[in-house]
C-alpha cells in the first residue's frame, strides 16, 4: 500500500533532488489511488500539480528514493489541506445557540442531530433542544422524537407549519424551556432543487445559526464537489460532518469537499448508535485512509 512506503522516511539529506522524471511513475500511482478513493478528478489535478511544483528541486533524504519521498510530501500536504483540527462550536453571546444540519437525502442528518445533542449534553453540559423540521419524509418527526427520548433531550415539532416557521418558533420555545442550544434537523434535499435550497436558505435567514453544517456521506463519489459547492454557496457553511466512516469507503469526498469549500470538516460519524459515534475529524488519519 502507498502509505506503508513513506512512514519510515527519516534520515540524512543527499545531493540527489526530486525531478519530474524520477517521480513520474509515483505520480501516476498516486493519481490512480486518489481516483479509487473517490477524490474528485479536478481536485486531484489541482492538488497534485501544486504538490509537484513545490516538491521539485527538494533534496532527497538518504536511503529513500525520490518516489517515496514524494509520497511523504503528498501525505503531508493532504493532511495540511484537510486540516487543521477544528472541532470548534461557536456559541451565541446571548440567547440560544443555533446549529443547522443540511445535506443530501440519506446522508445521516437526523442521526447526527441526535449524536450532537448527546455530545453537547454530556461533554459540554449544554441544554440542547432538537427541532424536527423535516415535515416531508414519512415519520421523520417521529424518528427525531424517538432519538430525543433515547438521550433525554426534548424535541420541538409543530404540525401544519412550514420548516422556516417551525425553526423560528423553536427559538422562542427554547428560551421558554431554558434550552441554550437549538439543533435544527432539515429534510434531505438536492442541491439542484431550487425550491428546497431556497427553503433551507430561509431557515438560515430567520434563525441566524452560529453553525451551519453540511452532513456528507463518506462514500460519496465524484458528485461530492457538485453538491458541496452548491450548499456552500447557498448557505455559507461553517463546517462539514462526514458520516458513515465506520464503513470501508476511502472517503476521498473529504479532500474534495475541503478543497472546494474551504470549510473545516469538524466531526465524523462512525456508527449508527448515538453514544460515542461522533468523533473529532483527524486530517492525518484521513489522509492515510484516502491514500490507502
Amino acid at each position: 500500500a502507498i502509505t506503508r512506503r513513506f512512514t519510515d522516511i527519516i534520515g540524512n539529506i543527499t545531493r540527489k533532488k526530486i525531478t519530474e522524471g524520477n517521480i513520474k511513475e509515483t505520480l501516476r500511482e498516486i493519481r490512480v489511488a486518489l481516483l479509487e478513493a473517490d477524490v474528485a478528478f479536478e481536485v486531484i489535478k489541482d492538488f497534485l500539480a501544486k504538490v509537484e511544483a513545490e516538491a521539485l528541486g527538494d533534496r532527497v533524504l538518504k536511503g529513500v528514493n525520490p518516489g517515496q519521498q514524494f509520497i511523504s510530501v503528498v501525505y503531508e500536504e493532504m493532511a495540511k489541506l484537510m486540516g487543521p483540527v477544528d472541532t470548534s462550536l461557536h456559541y451565541a453571546q446571548q440567547g440560544p445557540t443555533v446549529i443547522l444540519m443540511a445535506g443530501l437525502q440519506g446522508s445521516g442528518k437526523t442521526t447526527t442531530c441526535g449524536k450532537l445533542a448527546l455530545l453537547l449534553k454530556t461533554e459540554q453540559k449544554r441544554r440542547p433542544l432538537l427541532v424536527a423540521a423535516d415535515v416531508q419524509r414519512p415519520a421523520a418527526v417521529e424518528q427525531l422524537k424517538k432519538l430525543g427520548e433515547q438521550i433525554g433531550v426534548p424535541v420541538f415539532s409543530e404540525s401544519g407549519v412550514k420548516p422556516p416557521q417551525i425553526c423560528l418558533h423553536s427559538l422562542d420555545f427554547a428560551k421558554r424551556q431554558g434550552c441554550d442550544t437549538v439543533i435544527l434537523d432539515s429534510a434531505g434535499r438536492l442541491h439542484i432543487d431550487e425550491a428546497m435550497m431556497a427553503e433551507v436558505k430561509e431557515v438560515a435567514a430567520l434563525t441566524t445559526p452560529q453553525e451551519i453544517f453540511l452532513v456528507c456521506d463518506a462514500m460519496t463519489g465524484q458528485d461530492a464537489v457538485k453538491s458541496a459547492k452548491q450548499f456552500n454557496e447557498q448557505l455559507s457553511l461553517t463546517g462539514v460532518i462526514l458520516t458513515k466512516l465506520d464503513g470501508d469507503a476511502r472517503g476521498g469526498a473529504a479532500l474534495s469537499v475541503k478543497a472546494i469549500t474551504g470549510k473545516p470538516i469538524k466531526f465524523v460519524g462512525v456508527g449508527e448508535k448515538l453514544e460515542n459515534t461522533l468523533k473529532p475529524f483527524r486530517p492525518d488519519g484521513m489522509a492515510q485512509r484516502i491514500l490507502g
Binding site: E36, F41, Q105, A140, E142, I192, S227, G247, D248, A249
Partner: protein, 281 residues
C-alpha cells in the same frame, strides 16, 4: 456558425474528466480510453477522426458493456413472489419498496409489505405510512424484534392471504459489519425455508451518489445473499451512477430499476440507452 472542437489530447483529457466525473472508476475509464476498443486506439486507426465522433463512440461502447438487460421483476410459479431488499444505510431502500409496491399495485397485483427493519428509530412507522398511502397491508413486529421473525411473519401472512407479492424491508447495514451481514443471510434463509424458491428477487439498493465503494457493497452483499438485481436510487440528482458498469462487468449483476425522486411514481425500469445518454448530458 458552431465552434468545431479539434480531436486533440486536450479534448481527450476533457472526455477523461467527464468519464471519471460520472463515477465509472479507473478500470472502466482506462478501458474506454486506452483499451483495445478505446478512444486512443480508434483515433490511431482513424476509426475516429473528428471530436464530435468521440462521445457517440463512447456511448456505443458503454451500451455494449452493459450486457445484462433484465429489468422485469421475477414472478414465482405460484404466489407469493418474494422480494428481499437490502443495502447500506440511507441509500433509499424503504422508499424504493414503496415505489415498487405502487408499480405492482397499478399492475393489478396484490402486495404485502414486511417491516423487517426493527432496529432504526421510526423505521416501521416510515414503512407503515407508505403502506397506508398505498392501501397495501403491512406486517410488523415488536421494536428490536428479530428481523427474521418479521420476515417469517410476512411469509406466513403472504401464504395465508394468497397475495401476489411480498416485499421485505431490511435495516441499513454496512457490508463490513459481519454480524449484520449474517443477520441478512438469516432473513433470506428463513424466507426460503418458509417459501421454497424464495426470495425470488434479492435487490441491492445503491445510492447513485456513491463512488467506488458501491463495488465493494455489491461484492459483499452478493457473497452473502446472491443478488438478483440493483435498484439505483437518487438518479434525479447530478450523480451519474457510472459504477454500475463495473458492477455489471465484474459481478454480472443487472440494474433493474432506477429511483428518480422521493414520490411513489419516481421509479422507472432501467433503460440502458437513457442511462448512457444521460451521462453525457
Amino acid at each position: 456558425f458552431t465552434f468545431r472542437r479539434t480531436l486533440d489530447e486536450a479534448f481527450v483529457e476533457e472526455i477523461e474528466a467527464e468519464l471519471f466525473g460520472a463515477d465509472f472508476g479507473p478500470e472502466t475509464v482506462r478501458a474506454l480510453l486506452d483499451g483495445p476498443n478505446g478512444i486512443r486506439q480508434a483515433w490511431k486507426d482513424k476509426t475516429i477522426t473528428e471530436a464530435e465522433e468521440v462521445r457517440e463512440f463512447l456511448k456505443r461502447n458503454l451500451k455494449a458493456m452493459l450486457t445484462r438487460r433484465e429489468v422485469k421483476l421475477a414472478q414465482a410459479a405460484t404466489p407469493p413472489t418474494v422480494i428481499l431488499v437490502a443495502g447500506v444505510n440511507g441509500t433509499g431502500k424503504t422508499t424504493s419498496i414503496a415505489k415498487l409496491a405502487r408499480r405492482l399495485r397499478d399492475d393489478g397485483k396484490s402486495v404485502v409489505l414486511a417491516a423487517a427493519d426493527t432496529f432504526r428509530a421510526a423505521a416501521v412507522e416510515q414503512l407503515t405510512i407508505w403502506s397506508q398511502r398505498l392501501g397495501v397491508d403491512i406486517v410488523t413486529g415488536k421494536p428490536q424484534a428479530d428481523p427474521a421473525s418479521v420476515a417469517y411473519q410476512g411469509a406466513e401472512t403472504a401464504l395465508a392471504t394468497g397475495v401476489d407479492y411480498l416485499i421485505v424491508d431490511t435495516a441499513g447495514r454496512l457490508h463490513t459489519q459481519v454480524n449484520l451481514m449474517r443477520e441478512l443471510r438469516k432473513i433470506r434463509d428463513v424466507l426460503s425455508k418458509k417459501i421454497p424458491g424464495s426470495p425470488h428477487e434479492c435487490l441491492l439498493v445503491l445510492d447513485a451518489t456513491t463512488g467506488q465503494n458501491a463495488l465493494n457493497q455489491a461484492k459483499l452483499f452478493q457473497a452473502e445473499v446472491e443478488l438478483s438485481g440493483i435498484i439505483l436510487a437518487k438518479l434525479d440528482g447530478t450523480a451519474k451512477g457510472g459504477i454500475v458498469v463495473a458492477i455489471n462487468n465484474q459481478l454480472d449483476i443487472p440494474v433493474k430499476m432506477i429511483g428518480v425522486g422521493e414520490k411513489l411514481e419516481d421509479m422507472e425500469p432501467f433503460d440502458v440507452d437513457k442511462f448512457v445518454d444521460a451521462v453525457f448530458e
